[in-house]
Symmetry: D3
Subunit: 212 residues, 6 copies
Amino acid sequence: MSIIVINPNSNDAVTEGLRASLSAFPDVVCLTLSEGPFGIESQRDSDSVIVPMLALMKQRQDASAFVIACYSDPGIDAAKEMSPVPVFGIQEAGTAMAMCRTDTFGVIAIGQPSILRHRKYMRRLGVLDRLAGERALNMSVDDTARGANTFERMVEVGRELIDKDGAESLILGCAGMAQHRANLEKALGVPVIDPTQAAVAMAHGTILASSL
Amino acid sequence: MSIIVINPNSNDAVTEGLRASLSAFPDVVCLTLSEGPFGIESQRDSDSVIVPMLALMKQRQDASAFVIACYSDPGIDAAKEMSPVPVFGIQEAGTAMAMCRTDTFGVIAIGQPSILRHRKYMRRLGVLDRLAGERALNMSVDDTARGANTFERMVEVGRELIDKDGAESLILGCAGMAQHRANLEKALGVPVIDPTQAAVAMAHGTILASSL
Amino acid sequence: MSIIVINPNSNDAVTEGLRASLSAFPDVVCLTLSEGPFGIESQRDSDSVIVPMLALMKQRQDASAFVIACYSDPGIDAAKEMSPVPVFGIQEAGTAMAMCRTDTFGVIAIGQPSILRHRKYMRRLGVLDRLAGERALNMSVDDTARGANTFERMVEVGRELIDKDGAESLILGCAGMAQHRANLEKALGVPVIDPTQAAVAMAHGTILASSL
Amino acid sequence: MSIIVINPNSNDAVTEGLRASLSAFPDVVCLTLSEGPFGIESQRDSDSVIVPMLALMKQRQDASAFVIACYSDPGIDAAKEMSPVPVFGIQEAGTAMAMCRTDTFGVIAIGQPSILRHRKYMRRLGVLDRLAGERALNMSVDDTARGANTFERMVEVGRELIDKDGAESLILGCAGMAQHRANLEKALGVPVIDPTQAAVAMAHGTILASSL
Amino acid sequence: MSIIVINPNSNDAVTEGLRASLSAFPDVVCLTLSEGPFGIESQRDSDSVIVPMLALMKQRQDASAFVIACYSDPGIDAAKEMSPVPVFGIQEAGTAMAMCRTDTFGVIAIGQPSILRHRKYMRRLGVLDRLAGERALNMSVDDTARGANTFERMVEVGRELIDKDGAESLILGCAGMAQHRANLEKALGVPVIDPTQAAVAMAHGTILASSL
Amino acid sequence: MSIIVINPNSNDAVTEGLRASLSAFPDVVCLTLSEGPFGIESQRDSDSVIVPMLALMKQRQDASAFVIACYSDPGIDAAKEMSPVPVFGIQEAGTAMAMCRTDTFGVIAIGQPSILRHRKYMRRLGVLDRLAGERALNMSVDDTARGANTFERMVEVGRELIDKDGAESLILGCAGMAQHRANLEKALGVPVIDPTQAAVAMAHGTILASSL
């Protein structure tokens, strides 16, 4: 069994972070898409990774499932269309997991512009009625993964989502925030979902079910 | 780690079926709610199990997570409210998993009346825009678990959901249909979701994430 | 003709309040569910009254209609399923009445946690697009029924619902607030709906229609 | 107390029918709008009655509440805006009543074109998620009120709404169908709502509440 | 080709404003409805123009298309029903145009009461999920068309729609604001839609398509 | 003024068809994306054109507006993000135009798979409540543009959308069907929208408005 988690940006630090946050999950292989931009911060960035990502997926005939580890779920439709094995997008999976934990959920985004992109995607998913709100850290992907003040800012933004917007759980709206999940959950007292962990869990369960 | 799966009806054959369908999933304990009715076929049946089920959950301090293995998700709100560990309902989890696999999904129900009950619940979940349709086998819970013609009827109903309603994946709308999942997926060529497996996978991932 | 209004908590003061607020309505009998908790303030409380309430309903073969007088509409589905006569839940009826008076409505809740429970229920009812907002008094059920400052707090919260959220009418989100309806309507200048009165009115009309 | 029910078409036979169907309801006065068209069968017909109807309402200072007894709810917004007493539209009230009786409802329309008009209005009401379906008798307003075959056709159409569309209750989509309510309910075994009775019941309850 | 734009109020200054804002569009004829009120500021005003407007439309057999240039789209359904040529309402067209430019949009209303009227109409249009928010200038129609401070107030309100509500484009919620479109777009840096221009553009395209 | 219409597939016959259907519209330049596939029939095809299409757009500094003439609106978000001038997608524009003509609309698709892709996109647009239905010709893009029986099949499918699904207008769900618009409208008696014409009309109006 092999769950291949693709980081579609070319920042290896992000891939390392994925490996760390998935270390308790069995049979996971994390790959960096070397053709990707250093960070996916625009729609163009997101769309530009699709063709090379599909090519990478085609090479990995050993995959039992794929996880696309970028919160904008780039290429998710094309990947599902062409892949012979299940494909999970992390925005889809994180949202699904949050909706199983609590009635309403909030999302912590990195920057303001991604809020509107996520909203469009959640409308497509038909789940907007469950969204309590989304608020931004207003930091870059790279800063979020490395920065010292990231956690304090996440607590602050998470608290607003809970108190002002009525969020009963929170989704980390970027694969690079994973290291803060456990501490944030402790600090805020509500379920905090790392969407990559959610996607890997669902991929894992799908593969186990197929083995029966 | 211990994922406690509660069959809220008192039919041990159903619990046995759960054990079989979850045999590939680690750390799962399946329990029968002895106070439950033999089958949950009405709203009254569903509501009547809540108080004893909450009592059973209170006793199981060893649980890392609970799964309520009846497709009407009886007592899901009260269970989440009082349980110190995560609780997953199988209708919630099955729907979440299907929504991660394909855009639209269909549901195979046991009897006609449950279709309207499920519809009300999916409206509450805010996911009706993803439902392609729900169709009934028109068999009892017990028959579905044992009956010889069940599989043929499931293929027939599943085919209608795909061809007439546009379903791209199917959810088995009763814990007792689990044994047919793999064969139905093979016969129909679309993802078929056993909701108990989905719930256990999500519970498992939640526990693994907490271990980090 | 006999409209049986059931107070599913065991607080007789609340039942007395119901009698007072329904004194102008003919053919109403108000009962206390002696097996209920003193106040329904959690989901467990709400679910725990269902079985004894159904038993009480079964005994009352003289009923022409039932009204379940708790804003969480406990057991509404099971009650409708088993009762040979019409059953009205007060959240359903209050919402329906408000939607006939104005386009948008607000709800005055007792405590913060009930806001999320109501939201889930209104989503199930498919009426969220009409909800302007819900705000809490942050008092207990018992305080609301007895407390001296209740009215002042209701005016304050109602004013916010109108001015900040755009509510054109208000629903009293607890059977125990009924005594303040008329004064609140005078103070705020918008329709204020007591949901028990709404339910009794609809029950009454249903019975009259059946007599033709 | 005086509930003034306005038939906005000039067909006195329809007003007579209203009187008959409301005979069990106290304090009701039924009026014909003499300036109205003989039957309201187009949007132009519906809009043309607004100005004279508002004038009629202004004259009736004795009204405790108004009911506009045409299923297209002509002038409902303007009437609510200018009337010092509550105003009920029968499509609004019939829909509200049906939604309190069952989860899904169906509507029996007179002609095909009104189905699309009603759909637009129900979308505005935000209740489309509860609509199981609407089907037409394909008869004129006048025929429906008088015609011999009307009842047989109503049974046939109602049966389709229940069996094919999943309607759990039915609304009579024209004030002129009222005489058939009781027999239709008996024939079909589901709640059948006459929307004028529903509106009068809600008006009556509103007035009673104001008397406290 | 002749696109007849009807100002349904009797204020010729508003019609002059329409002519100015449409001066770059070919084949446009702007008419004042002399029977209309001086400004449409209530639902009654809006409904009262329907009958004379339909009469005016009937006289203009030379029309290739009609545009009803009042943001409440008075009589739009009746006009479409009776007109042999296409009819465009400016709220419908403005909303459609905004939805083609950006995902979310905001609306600048003249007065607070119109916000709730527009909301009801946008719910009917089924587009509420795209609305970021609506905020009012709190000025009269006449002031808006003439007033000196109008532009400053529009910038202020527009800024709030963008910054607080997340609007990515803005619709001018009254035909009389047209003169400020270009400057407002420059000042705010997002697309600003004059709904009459949008309606005329869509009418023009419909006529051109018919010529092929 | 120059409206640049990009055919993102490399089939020049389709571009020729666009030129013909837009011949009455001024200032239009139609381009073929030579890097595109011969026909866009999968999600991968659709995604693969984004990068070269953005490059083409960057070269055309002379554009006053762009229209992406493929019904799947490939790259629409990235194009709007990077383009200094307005960009219109034809699915967005066709839907917007249909929603201004009638309350409900239907879509004629080329093949069955595109129906589900379009549904996902219309859910994202938040307009599903207006969709009466979508039905497929079940022909290839190339056949549709050339084939002799195309028109007969379009009449048949359009008739079903009107009679069975309640569509009041129709959208041609592929840029290659444009030549049949006028005849189909004549044959069916409801508005038929060519989405490319709709997009060009809206682009044209946007440019005219900017000139004031």
